[in-house]
């Protein structure tokens, strides 16, 4: 008997099938859609790397030497290339220290002055000594340093590397 309580009517069957197919289609489209929208947030961008600064034996002893390198970053469809500079200072045959040339005050680029034996910041007259310590305000802390004791500098097969963490 059509339309009785135990039997599924034709109309009811169509409704159930429509609901089921609709739900399946919603899920098939909806789940990828969510993944699509949140996708950039799930991508972890690795910006740190060991940067080779060349053979140690080529670096002069005693005098800080400027090394420049570039790092490229790809965000979506845009590629940005930034250049960075570090001063490599071979204190003696055994010890090497590398200083970032970014002033700790407001990120201007400091310059090694061989006559004054100091790093001079052109912006607000900050001065750092050869060890990177502040000898004239306003910089709040010493220059960022790379050293074997800090774990962010290594020498492999005579080549000097620093562990660069973003910029």
């Amino acid at each position: 008997m059509p339309g009785s309580q135990h039997e599924l009517s034709r109309n009811g069957f169509v409704k159930v099938v429509t609901a089921m197919v609709g739900t399946a289609m919603g899920a098939i489209i909806g789940i990828p859609a969510i993944g699509y929208l949140v996708s950039p947030a799930t991508k972890i961008q690795k910006s740190d790397a060991w940067i080779p600064l060349g053979p140690l034996e080529n670096i002069p002893l005693g005098e800080p030497t400027l090394f420049s390198f570039t790092r490229s970053q790809v965000t979506g469809w845009e590629k940005t290339v930034n250049s960075y500079g570090v001063y490599v200072w071979r204190k003696n045959e055994d010890e090497v220290k590398v200083f970032s040339n970014v002033c700790t005050h407001l990120s201007c680029r400091v310059r090694w002055d061989a006559e004054k034996k100091a790093y001079l910041c052109p912006c607000h007259a900050g001065i750092f000594d050869i060890e990177g310590n502040v000898i004239h305000d306003p910089p709040p802390r010493p220059l960022d340093m790379y050293a074997e004791s800090e774990g962010n500098l290594k020498i492999e097969e005579g080549t000097l590397f620093i562990h660069f963490v973003g910029g």
Partner: protein
Amino acid sequence: MFVKILSWLDERLGLTAIYNTVLDRKVPKVNWWFTLGSASLFLFAMQCVTGIMLTIYYVPDPAKAYDSIQYIMNDVAFGWLIRGMHHWGATLMIIVVFLHMLRTYFYAAYKYPRELTWLTGVVLLLATLGMGFTGYLLPMNQRSYWASKVGASIAGTVPGIGPFIEKVILGGSDISAVTLARFFSVHIWWLPVVIGALIGIHMYLVIRIGISMIPHEGD
């Protein structure tokens, strides 16, 4: 609980009346060719959803359009799926809308009192082709570039005002950043608004007048 909420809403929104008018309306016994209108509507909705999704990453700039699509295809999760649906859905929509027109024509369903349904349908078909034409340039690859060039040149062959029309389409004398921006604008705003409005009129007429029977021999 659910039934209670539904009946509360129904009393205020008149959902049953809408349902009865739109979905439970009387239709003559027809065949599968009569599903093409619904298929067109579904494809339009799908193109809207996937198109809106694509604008999240797509950039309408000649220098970046291609790269942004490479990003969608290779780096965004399911980007290939969303773009694939939009790409193939576009082709399918042209086919389905065209078959829908053929069915209406061969079953003589455009006759009194459905002339306005037919007329809005003709504009809808042309607008759909316009969507295809403007969307074709957006990936900014070689094929897009030359297809748009050819399309605009065809418009340029109109006697007298042709060259002017071509310049208006391109926004200059050649394909440029201006062309891409205006094609994008037409693709995502102008035509969708026109199509949406005409679908409203088209469907109002279908519901108001009802669909035609399959004509018999000698009709």
